[in-house]
Symmetry: C2
Subunit: 568 residues, 2 copies
């Protein structure tokens, strides 16, 4: 394509609101433009890259045995009421009325629509398992859209759904999708981890998130420095075993700690480390008040608490409730002498401590020489804390490290949540009605594009992996006013184009500096510059990623380009 005829508005400066590299570079290089907060248009360069990612996704979905379909963005409210999500999805779901005052949702996801389609179409076990997918814009009214394509309100997504006869069959579909997802992100050139994630309230069992490692990611991953174990930090169990203290138990004492509120202040005041104090936090677990006790240097993981109680809702108790129950506020809590209607649970680490400090449930006082078991009773010792860097990996191999990740994919065993609510059943081989078992599988296609840029850029612009770039070759004529340069560049462009190589040709009458800067921004893998030595039939070839450059005879260019890409 000739650049002079294309809509590629490059910018010299970063947009004011663009905090991260992918946002800055995609806007500056003319790939995307914001239409409204969190809503973007993909300009021709952006559309091409998006299509390359789409094509990879499509190929891997087809290979996994999923069939493409296309559902509507307009979804009748009735379907969301059937599943129960019309009320629970909240204000992220964009809603509207048609001219007859019928309520619709704009597709944020398509579980309801596909479940209704399949329940009306499939009656027999003979048609199961079924896997379908679509690639389509989704709408979610994010409270705080930001980071360009990473957190938008309209974005391109691949969503897939499996319908299975049984949980065993779901496991198979899930594994197929898991492999397909690994292939997709590998082919996109991404450094990623498949991470054990929280299945939330959907009643699902397994779920993994595919996380691209990146400093700008909003999630923290705990991964093994040795194996491929990785989990969202809140999901990683602590498998560490603790040594019992060999200290002799001393006598329990109450001591004044005037004006010392935080764990750190109390520890400093009493002259010991954080790990020699107990952290006590009051929760309300469904209707039960629970005091959770951990070692002072540990953080309570409320998802573990929720799972321990198999609870629906876990929240911090209010300070008012706490005062009523214990006669004191948050700064002075401790497990000694708590009333019977408060359950005490403690992290494993607590069990092995001796002669530690805790709040005395009295403003300005702490106990010292507290010994668990002797001085307070617990309902249970269990795993209640967040994993930390250096902890042993839960799979027994190596130690935990932390990294930040951008979630680009999510595979999820939905189980029977939707099928039950929406009555999706089939007849088994005995003619008996059974509930379908479902899985759902998403890839953020436009977000993946941004994640690629986060991993592929340098100080001058984007450095696309070769099979993701919008074009393979960028031809520049340095000074098209010089006849010999223009002729040679025109000729090269035609030759490359006619051999099926994807070429962008900068034929603009702009200064060489502008052309080089734009070219670096775009990030096309190979640049061929037609300049001063055009008269001799010699051009310059430069690799965008490595910066390596060389001079070439014009006649050798096609072979060089072909070979270069066949090696990639």
């Amino acid at each position: 394509m000739k650049q002079s005829q294309m809509l590629i508005p490059t910018l010299k400066e970063n947009p004011a609101d663009a905090e991260i590299k992918s946002h800055q570079l995609l806007v500056r290089a003319g790939y995307i433009r914001q239409i409204a907060s969190g809503v973007y248009s993909f300009l021709p360069l952006g559309r091409r890259v998006l299509r390359k990612v789409e094509d990879i996704v499509r190929e891997e979905m087809d290979k996994a045995g999923a069939h493409e379909l296309m559902m509507s963005a307009l979804q009748p409210a009735e379907l969301w009421k059937e599943s129960g999500r019309w009320n629970t999805y909240g204000s992220e779901l964009m809603r509207l009325h048609d001219r007859h005052e019928r309520e619709f949702a704009l597709g944020a996801t398509h579980e309801e629509v596909i479940t209704s389609l399949v329940r009306d179409s499939i009656k027999s076990y003979k048609r199961l398992p079924l896997m379908v997918y679509q690639i389509q814009n989704k709408f979610r009214d994010e409270k705080r859209p930001r980071f360009g394509l990473l957190r938008g309100r309209e974005f391109l997504m691949k969503d897939a759904y499996s319908f299975n006869e049984s949980f065993e069959s779901l496991d198979e579909s899930y594994d197929q999708m898991f492999r397909a997802y690994s292939n997709v992100f590998s082919r996109c050139g991404l450094d990623f981890r498949a991470v054990i994630a929280d299945s939330g309230q959907m009643g699902g069992k397994d779920t993994h998130e595919f996380m691209v490692l990146s400093e700008v990611g909003e999630d923290v991953i705990a991964y093994s420095d040795t194996s491929d174990y990785a989990a969202n930090i809140e999901m990683a169990p602590v498998v560490m075993t603790y040594e019992s203290s060999d200290e002799t138990e001393k006598e329990l004492e109450k001591t004044a700690t005037p004006d010392q509120r935080t764990m750190q202040e109390v520890a400093d005041y009493l002259g010991h480390g954080l790990a020699e104090g107990l952290k006590s936090i009051m929760f309300k677990v469904d209707e039960q008040f629970v005091m959770v006790v951990t070692r002072g240097d540990h953080e309570v993981n409320d998802i573990k608490l929720k799972n321990f109680y198999d609870a629906d809702i876990v929240e911090l108790a209010s300070e008012e409730d706490t005062r009523q129950l214990l006669g004191t506020g948050f700064g002075s809590l401790g497990p000694v002498n708590v009333p019977e209607d408060v359950e005490v649970v403690a992290d494993y680490a607590v069990e092995k401590l001796a002669n530690v400090t805790c709040g005395a449930n009295e403003e300005g006082y702490h106990y010292v020489n507290v010994n668990p078991g002797r001085d307070f009773k617990v309902k249970a010792y269990t795993d209640l804390r967040f994993i930390e860097e250096g902890d042993p990996s839960p799979d027994g191999q190596g130690n935990i490290k932390f990294a930040r990740g951008i979630e680009v994919g999510h595979v999820f065993k939905l189980g029977t949540f939707y099928a039950e609510n929406m009555n999706a059943t089939y007849l088994d081989d005995q003619g008996k009605s059974q509930t379908m078992v479902m899985g759902s599988y998403g890839i953020g296609v436009s977000r993946t594009l941004a994640a690629i840029v986060e991993q592929y850029h340098d100080e001058r612009g984007i450095t696309w992996p070769s099979h993701i770039a919008p074009y393979q070759v960028h031809v520049l004529s340095l000074n098209p006013k010089k006849e010999e340069q223009k002729e040679l560049a025109d000729e090269l462009y035609e030759q490359l184009q006619s051999t099926g190589i994807e070429v962008l040709y900068d034929d603009r009458k702009e200064r060489a500096g502008v052309k080089f800067a734009d070219s670096d921004l775009f990030g096309i893998p190979l640049r061929i510059t037609v300049g001063k030595r055009a008269g001799e039939g010699i051009v310059e070839v430069k690799e965008r990623q490595s910066g390596k450059q060389d001079e070439l005879e014009q006649t050798a260019v096609i072979d060089f380009v072909r070979q270069w890409f066949s090696k990639e």
Copy 2:
């Protein structure tokens, strides 16, 4: 693909609400399913066909020099207020609020968004002309969605826009698009006409609609039986010249016509033909009352009236206004002795009449022996009637015939309407600011799919053109319980698949009758049936369109299929 694993829910009966063939067959054959009134999902077979049409559109757009981009469906109201269409577009535009109560439109079309993008990106004549397009779901809240994909509320559209320096340059872009559209619809195998259309209120100049000829079309086309002239019926000028009557003028007489209200009743009562009466209709043209007079057998074309007056609004006068002006109601109107504040205009045909009848502006009375010119004055004789079958074609070649058409494409010279309202300017080669000149070009992609079915079906199902069909070959194993049939069919499927031929394989354990009926419904061009002679390695090949069938050795199948498609 194996049919047993695909979502292709066929139906034996037509859906109750499906009035036309494309709607009936696409639902019955499992290509589409309704989600809400006018809102459809494309199931896997439908998605494949849609993609084939998309690909043809994409190729022709690229060839025409347009670049693909993708704008958002969410469009801020501010842009529509700038263009003025927020108020004028009416209730077809779907509107919603985000969580911060900001107003948005759901993209019904993208003139506003693209104009805003281009005005912010392009400053110089050097970057013009520019042509861009996208293929994307559009939203229009039709008052009465019907006919399946023909009139939906969410539908797939290709929309393209050109930005030009001048009207001459716009003409070139328009011609390029016109040719591309002709190519698209030819490649889709459609019998269509490019039809001169009404440019409406957009201030545009030329506009053509691409109409697929079909009895179920909602528009009537007037076309020449000899040349390629075609126009929407209201746009075709009448170029007929009329002979003067050679009758001697007789004396004007008023005669009683009690209880005769319609033209036909009066003509019968007075014993003459419709063509010997004058039809007189009162209009309000902007603020002026106008009596339009045509020959009794002709129909008034109000678009011609509007154009004659260069008016903004043309509407029928109310009966109340008419009584006030002429002292009588609609049944007795005529041009003799009308008051001065009513202008009389007449169709060319009226001028040459003699001794005809007209209403006497008096309940129950008509004039006979009326002679135009002698008995009433007209402001002008002009072309005011609808063209009729048999009239000479406006291009001077042949005579007019009528046909009904489905609008599948529209090319439109927008001119400066949007660029002026939204301030899209560029600097010309003298450094002077100029307003951009725009064109807009639409193809209803999903509607095109339905139009193809309207032209390609028989009593048993769809009969796709070979390059539009979802698959090239449909392999049926008649009785897969018989090992030899299953083995041969499996083998054929693998062979065809591995040579890159698109195969659907009916591997289901269903009765032969069910399989044949489904196969006919689907409309895949070639069917290969593995049946009784499987043991001898012999299969049956059948062409869907012609019904021609033949037996073939298994070993000859691949060559046969390849040759068949290379000839298509």
